[in-house]
């Protein structure tokens, strides 16, 4: 929500020459707007980092064995590795999309965006269907949200992250749609950049969540 709320719409704002005189005020240049937007976006990341850090702290605080050692519940390791790889690959295509628009390669730009959105959706399905077991008829999950702190933290962390992935996919599709209508150019594409760095940020969060949930600590049996 707030991510998209950063003012990224100046592409279509005052699309005139750089020093644009309205008679009353000097409007800053597109470059200056972009710099403000970019700083705003990074401050937003800094803010969100505290949310994700709080979840990480919660995980390491609560997942303790009988002797206080760090533990983790048994999860589907293969699912974890696959969704991680999928998200990583999506980041590559997002980067490709940004480089393409900066070099005026429209088709490449649009196709890369679609691939990114597709991989993002695949990640979501992987988490919700495969790991969560939302549809037990397809895959039976390992944990329920009510399984003590193990369920609570797994669903809390992956859920909060999935919410960000979902908003990222929506943002990408929106940018793709605007891109098709010719809204971005190699010179003016802050909207694409905002979407790209948001997507990479979501990937970045997963880079820390993945080992925290799947890899660190000895496994512990969670009875149901």
């Amino acid at each position: 929500m707030t991510a998209t709320a950063i003012e990224h719409g100046h592409e279509h704002g005052h699309a005139a020459d750089d020093h644009h005189h309205t008679g009353e005020v000097d409007l800053p240049t597109y470059l200056e707007y972009t710099r403000r937007n970019r700083l705003g976006m990074w401050l937003f990341f800094a803010s969100e980092a505290f949310l994700f850090l709080a979840l990480l702290v919660t995980r390491f605080y609560l997942w303790r064995g009988p002797h206080g050692e760090v533990v983790r519940p048994e999860l589907d390791q293969f699912a974890g590795l696959v969704v991680t790889a999928v998200l990583l690959l999506s980041s590559y295509f997002m980067n490709r999309a940004e480089v393409s628009i900066a070099n005026d390669k429209r088709t490449d730009f649009l196709v890369s965006l679609l691939i990114t959105a597709g991989l993002g959706t695949a990640f979501l399905i992987g988490v919700v269907v495969w790991e969560w077991g939302m549809f037990p008829s397809i895959v039976k999950g390992h944990l329920k949200p009510t399984d003590g702190v193990f369920g609570a933290v797994v669903f809390g962390m992956t859920g909060m992250h999935a919410l960000h992935v979902l908003s990222g996919v929506v943002l990408i599709l929106n940018v793709w749609w605007l891109g098709r209508k010719g809204h971005f150019s190699s010179e003016r594409h802050w909207g694409v950049e905002a979407c790209a760095i948001y997507w990479h940020y979501v990937d970045l969060v997963w880079i820390f969540f993945y080992p925290a949930i799947y890899l660190i600590g000895s496994t512990i049996e969670v009875p149901h």
């Binding site: 790889a85 990583l88 760095i197 970045l204």
Partner: protein, 73 residues
């Protein structure tokens, strides 16, 4: 900039993306195997690997330097 050097630069940027992605993939695999191979499954090693991956993403994909650099970008 001549047409030729511009093309060269473009290919370089595309290549950079691929190299970073491959490095990230390798680091992820290292992470995965470290986790199932004691004594490499420690908190510190896994977090350092994650940190490395994070630095790559923040630097090459998110261009954090553009926040303070005053170049025309």
């Amino acid at each position: 900039m001549s047409e030729q050097s511009r093309t060269k630069r473009k290919t370089a940027i595309y290549r950079e993306g691929i190299i970073v992605a491959i490095t990230l993939a390798i680091l992820t695999l290292v992470e995965y195997y470290a986790a199932i191979t004691p004594p490499f499954d420690s908190f510190a090693i896994l977090m350092i690997l994650a940190l490395l991956k994070g630095i790559l993403v923040v630097n090459y994909f998110m261009h954090i330097r553009s926040v303070w650099s005053e170049d025309e970008h």
